[in-house]
């Protein structure tokens, strides 16, 4: 098979088409390192502009990889973001000298999207201030590099909370708005990106522009869920809400299908404030249901609780004991489930986060548990985002792929309520084109557990998951970076070429987040 040369900053033909390289492990690779042409002139220009650029291992080493831990690259230099004006100067110089600029928030990408393969790495966490909280209007204006957790810390001093954000303390606001952001309340409140009311953006050519649904709406549409291609989010105005602790309910299933049917039933009927599925492989499936208020919980207890087909903890333990008693050859699997239960369950019930049976600071509880029990130096989390009616098939097929590639894994499923008025935002994003009302996302996360796998093994696993998405007409959260070969297969040439033309107009030297999407 002849693979034609690809011009830098474009999406080339897909090298992983299902009819290509049959029987051979299909690979994706990191982009080539930028050759450094014109770097010294660029450094001189920044110096003249007063933009501080750090170099050397101590400065660049922090950014050598992302949360995925499979893509490694070093920038030539690092700029810590301090203001929109400073970023504007940086991007203007980068356009002139054609130096790639990779933007990083929390660095929680998994496909190398926030890893700089040469050029400048712009660390947005330097812009982490909360600028204004309007408790009456329930809005906050914040700098874009702030971690959601830092935002939560500030909001809690006013007894407020954000609406929805990734269950990870170290996601940044700007980064999340650029890709989506799902929470266990997204089935009710939508994804994080839909919470933004307005943004201050520095465009790839260095203009500082305010945008919203009413002001510069086209830029707003492209930046929200735009994977960092059309501008850098330096400030954001977000909706917030009064803080509430949660009353949690857990239901346990041994069938993925049944659990997903129950999840979707709850979502369709607005029966809970929070809902999501977290599994230990496909043997122990946990449906989490939670409430902000006693009234909502009482309504659930009266109308919906009896319709759920999951077990309580004790009932499920009995069920599993019977299941494995009849299948002694699955002894190791049973032991693994027991061990995970012993390790993980106490994390969700730590006394210092519980008051009167309610959980406080759920993001802290979940995020710390995620890093402690699921995190490692390598994290490979391919995902599928589908319409509601395709979701069960997507999860079941993805689960089969997980079983094939890894001994142990976790699935995390959640619904995402879509905004009717935000259709244009969703174009060429993680939101599948055929989703109406809700989209559903599932992350497939192998438990690495100190195991050693080759990058090829990881890549083959991701490809197998993504092939399901192509087959079903789904979308993905993580389609950039190492997975960008799938972009044309998922979205089609016409749409990709239209966005590429927009990108070329907005970013003539194609410097901003090069190789992430284009």
């Amino acid at each position: 098979m002849k693979i034609p040369p690809v011009e830098p900053g474009t999406v080339g033909p897909c090298p992983v088409a299902p009819d290509a390289l049959q029987g051979i492990k299909r690979q994706q690779t990191n982009p080539a390192r930028w050759n450094g042409s014109g770097w010294q002139d660029f450094v001189a220009a920044l110096h003249t502009s007063g933009v501080e650029l750090a170099a050397g291992a101590a400065a660049c080493g922090v950014y050598v990889t992302d949360a995925g831990g499979t893509a490694y690259g070093m920038p030539h230099g690092v700029v810590i973001a301090r203001s929109a004006g400073q970023i504007s100067l940086l991007l203007k110089a980068a356009q002139v000298h054609r130096v790639p600029v990779t933007v990083r928030g929390g660095g929680l990408t998994t496909e190398g999207e926030s890893v700089a393969f040469g050029g400048v790495l712009l660390d947005m966490t330097g812009m982490s201030r909360v600028l204004h909280i309007d408790a009456a209007a329930l809005t906050v204006r914040t700098e874009g590099g702030i971690y959601w957790h830092s935002l939560a810390e500030e909001l809690r001093r006013e007894n407020l909370d954000y609406l929805s954000a990734p269950l990870n303390l170290t996601s940044s606001v700007g980064g999340t708005l650029g890709v989506g952001g799902i929470d266990v309340n997204s089935a009710r409140l939508g994804c994080s990106a839909d919470q933004a009311l307005s943004l201050q953006v520095v465009t790839p050519t260095g203009e500082i522009v305010e945008c919203s649904d009413s002001e510069n709406p086209e830029l707003f549409r492209r930046v929200i869920l735009g994977y960092g291609q059309f501008g850098i989010i330096t400030e954001a105005t977000l909706r917030v809400r009064p803080y509430t602790p949660l009353r949690m309910h857990y239901y346990y299933y041994s069938s993925l299908r049944t659990a997903i049917e129950d999840l979707q039933m709850l979502d369709r009927n607005d029966a809970s404030d929070y809902s999501g599925i977290l599994t230990i492989m496909d043997c122990a499936v946990n449906l989490l249901v939670a409430f902000d208020s006693d009234e909502r919980e009482a309504a659930f207890n009266a109308d919906w609780k009896s319709r759920l087909r999951g077990y309580g903890e004790f009932g499920f333990a009995l069920h599993m004991a019977g299941h494995y008693a009849l299948r002694p050859w699955k002894f190791r699997e049973a032991l693994y489930l027991l061990q995970r239960k012993r390790e993980v369950f106490p994390e969700f019930r730590r006394a210092e986060y519980m008051r009167d049976g309610k959980m406080h600071d759920r993001t802290v509880v979940y995020s710390r548990a995620v890093w402690k029990h699921w995190g490692s130096r390598q994290m490979v989390i391919p995902d599928l985002a589908t319409s509601a009616d395709k979701f069960i098939e997507a999860v079941e097929r993805g689960n089969a792929v997980c079983r094939k590639y890894f001994a142990h894994y976790t699935l995390y499923c959640v619904g995402i309520k879509l905004r009717l008025d935000h259709g244009p935002h969703y174009e060429m994003s993680c939101v599948p084109p055929d989703a109406e009302g809700w989209a559903y996302g599932c992350e497939f996360e192998p438990m690495i557990e100190g195991g050693v796998y080759s990058r090829d093994h990881f890549q083959a696993f991701k490809n197998a998951i993504y092939d399901i998405g192509v087959d079903l007409g789904a979308s993905y959260y993580r389609f950039g970076g190492m997975m960008k070969g799938y972009i044309r297969r998922v979205f089609g040439d016409a749409l990709v070429d239209r966005h590429l033309a927009m990108k070329r107009r907005a970013d003539p030297a194609m410097i901003l987040n090069r190789d992430v999407i284009f």
Binding site: G56, A58, G61, V62, G69, M74, Y147, L335, Q339, E352
Partner: protein
């Protein structure tokens, strides 16, 4: 099977295990002040992984408060503050022989050498008696020290290891003879220590030693605890708290439930340090700022601030107008006041 299910806790790991999760960044007071990821434990660990030299990392090594907030949040169980203390020591040892050293460090080295050569302070307090290691701040406040002694009923240990605690902080080599002499003198005693960093290290050096921070020791006393009220903001000494996190987070959670007071904890239940205590401040080369104390107070309207550390009392007194009292000053039950009249003025 039980052995398989009950995994023994693993030993702390070193910087090579850092996965870059950034959880330590969220709790790092240096990051809060600078928003510069290089000045964080993650920045140091990643720098070391990438081959940075100690000289290249000097800024971060010196800036660290050694508050220990990063230790309990690290999912990889890296001994981050231990790593930074070790880097400080290596940084000091890698100075060219004739380069000028801060006078504090020179004097401390001489004190340590002298103490190493001296006979251990044995026999001052008989073995197995609980003792108090007050540290220099509490020693300097005779009235408060007397109150603490009265409340706890403890003898003050003459050799309270203040030189060792300072050496740990500044990165000064502790002569083995001095260290072993100090540790030998503590064996068999139950220890209450005011210096959180020393307490943290004692936990590692003498794992079987019965020990407690000054805050928990005082706040378990009914005379103190009963005077904590919901309108109080209780400021925890962070080093002792983080050095024994699993036990302490439970202890203070119960304290809060029982008294209703607010605690100086963030949403991760990590104690926010109230004072800047990087190397430049310790060496007297830079003044501390009040950023941390202001952050603790943000959104709170306490009627009174109760501190465990004397340094924190000064910091809050600078930034607010509500009464700031040391924990020991709460314990004013009539019987004790009668018995220790001199301490209560």
């Amino acid at each position: 099977m039980s052995a398989f299910l009950a995994r023994a806790p693993a030993a702390p790991r070193d910087y090579a295990a850092c996965s870059g999760c950034s959880l330590c960044v969220l709790v790092c007071p240096m990051w809060r002040g600078s928003h510069d990821p290089r000045l964080t434990p993650e920045g140091l660990a990643k720098g070391l992984q990438s081959g940075a030299t100690i000289a290249q990392l000097a800024g971060a090594i010196e800036a660290c408060f050694l508050c220990g907030a990063c230790d309990p949040v690290c999912p990889e169980r890296i001994d981050l503050s231990g790593m930074i203390m070790d880097l400080r020591l290596r940084s000091a040892n890698s100075r060219p022989p004739n380069s000028p050293q801060p006078s504090v460090m020179v004097e401390l080295s001489a004190r340590l050498q002298m103490a190493a050569g001296a006979a251990p302070a044995a026999g001052v307090v008989s073995n197995s008696v609980p003792v108090l290691l007050p540290g220099p701040d509490l020693r300097a406040d005779a009235a408060l020290l007397a109150r603490v002694q009265a409340l706890l009923g403890l003898a003050v240990f003459d050799d309270d290891g203040a030189d060792i605690a300072l050496a740990l902080e500044l990165g000064v080599e502790i002569p083995q003879q001095r260290l072993h002499g100090f540790l030998d003198s503590l064996r068999g005693h139950t220890i209450v220590a005011a210096d959180g960093l020393l307490l943290r290290q004692l936990r590692r050096w003498l794992p079987g030693l019965q020990r407690m921070g000054l805050g928990p020791a005082l706040s378990t006393r009914a005379a103190v605890r009963s005077n904590l009220v919901p309108s109080d903001l209780y400021v925890i000494e962070p080093r002792a708290f983080h050095g024994d996190y699993e036990r302490m987070v439970g202890y203070y959670d119960r304290l809060q439930r029982e008294t209703g007071c607010s605690l100086s904890l963030d949403l991760q239940r990590i104690a926010i340090p109230a004072t800047s205590s990087g190397l430049p401040q310790k060496l007297g080369l830079a003044a501390g700022d009040d950023v941390q104390a202001k952050w603790i107070l943000k959104g709170h309207k306490p009627a009174r601030i109760v501190v465990e550390s004397l340094a924190d009392r000064a910091a809050f007194a600078r930034v607010c107008h509500v009464p700031v009292v040391h924990l020991a000053e709460l314990g004013e039950d009539p019987q004790m006041m009668q018995k220790f009249r001199h301490a209560f003025g």
